[in-house]
Amino acid sequence: MSLENVLLVSGILFAIGLYGSLAKRSAIVVLMSIEIMFNAVNVAAIGFSRYTLPQQLTRSPLEVTADAVHAALTGQLFAVFVITVAAAEVALGLALVIAVYRSRQTVEVTDLNSMRG
């Protein structure tokens, strides 16, 4: 279990979500695939938070201070924000899906082409 393995899992999960969001017809499945991508990004952020310090990117002789070590939690904080935005996104997305279903009786993204020129 190392940073490389965590990034491997994260990359595979993100690729699965990317495939699902591009190739699927149902808007609900597209939203589910986007959630998988959010999860993959969270895994990567938390993996970086666990295995590296942010200051390694900017200062080559790492000074170990209280701030430097507490900054190790910044990745987890990013994951908190990603989860919050994902919750907002899925609430809005499903509201849109239901509103579209009410007016057009379909949730398939291939049918929603009224903005095509």
């Binding site: 279990m1 940073l3 490389e4 990034l7 899992v9 994260s10 990359g11 595979i12 993100f14 690729a15 699965i16 979500g17 495939y19 699902g20 591009l22 190739a23 017809r25 149902s26 609900i28 499945v29 939203l31 589910m32 695939s33 959630e35 998988i36 999860n39 969270n42 938390i46 295995y51 590296t52 390694q56 790492l62 170990v64 201070t65 070590v69 507490h70 190790a72 939690l73 910044t74 987890q76 904080l77 994951a79 908190v80 924000f81 989860i83 919050t84 935005v85 919750a87 907002a88 996104e89 899925v90 609430a91 809005l92 499903l94 509201a95 899906v97 239901i98 279903y101 379909t106 291939t110």
Partner: protein
């Protein structure tokens, strides 16, 4: 670092959780039944929560279970039940070849980068630099005036965090970071949530005839 971490058990648990997460995610994009796909989505979220625990992000693991498994999955299942169209199935839109190529290229690029970048990770840092290792694992015992000592003092100031390093009691530290260093993003994201809530209510409202 401490406890069972670094042993084979963590490795095995990590690979099991990863395999479950990836297999469940694959089932989400391949199953024809959307309802079952949503159930496997919840399983994938749970497995990712397990990965979070192994990466010493216990607070995030609990948040993951509460918000993803508890709220988002249930919301998705509600939407599937409200939308009658879904028994038509989880079909492709005819672009699966292009989408598969893009996804495979992306995965290849990410994996190539991950295995070729030179990350100095914390564990080798802890092996090479006694102060850094002590600050991260909390095994610091002596040496007032050395840089790591201040970290331990900082850890001792919160009661439960003493003797256990930065990851051991991360909930309090995350809370402090949220209201100190990241207070502006914190407020911004709360406004985003409020706007999303009002927007969702406005979108879904039944329009009465005037």
């Amino acid at each position: 670092m401490s406890g069972v971490e670094g042993s084979n058990i963590t490795d095995i648990a990590f690979w099991i959780a990863s395999a479950v997460a990836i297999a469940a995610a694959l089932l989400v994009v391949t199953l024809r039944d959307v309802f079952r796909a949503a159930l496997f989505l919840a399983l994938s979220f749970l497995a990712v929560a397990g990965i979070f625990v192994l990466l010493r992000a216990e607070f995030l693991a609990v948040v993951q279970v509460l918000i993803y498994v508890g709220a988002i999955s249930v919301l998705v299942i509600f939407a599937i039940m409200l939308v009658r169209d879904v028994p038509g199935g989880n079909t492709d839109n005819g672009m699966y070849a292009i989408a598969g190529t893009i996804a495979a290229l992306f995965a290849a690029a990410v994996i190539f980068t991950a295995f070729n970048a030179n990350f100095t990770d914390i564990d080798s840092l802890a092996a090479g630099n006694a102060d850094a290792g002590a600050a991260l694992t909390g095994t610091y015992t002596e040496g007032e005036g050395r840089p790591g000592f201040e970290v331990l003092r900082a850890a001792e100031r919160d009661e439960a965090g003493a003797r256990s390093g930065v990851f051991a009691n991360s909930t309090g530290a995350i809370g402090r970071l949220l209201i100190r260093d990241f207070v502006l993003p914190f407020e911004a994201v709360s406004i985003v949530l409020l706007a999303a809530m009002i927007g969702a209510l406005a979108l879904i409202r039944e329009r009465r005839a005037p």
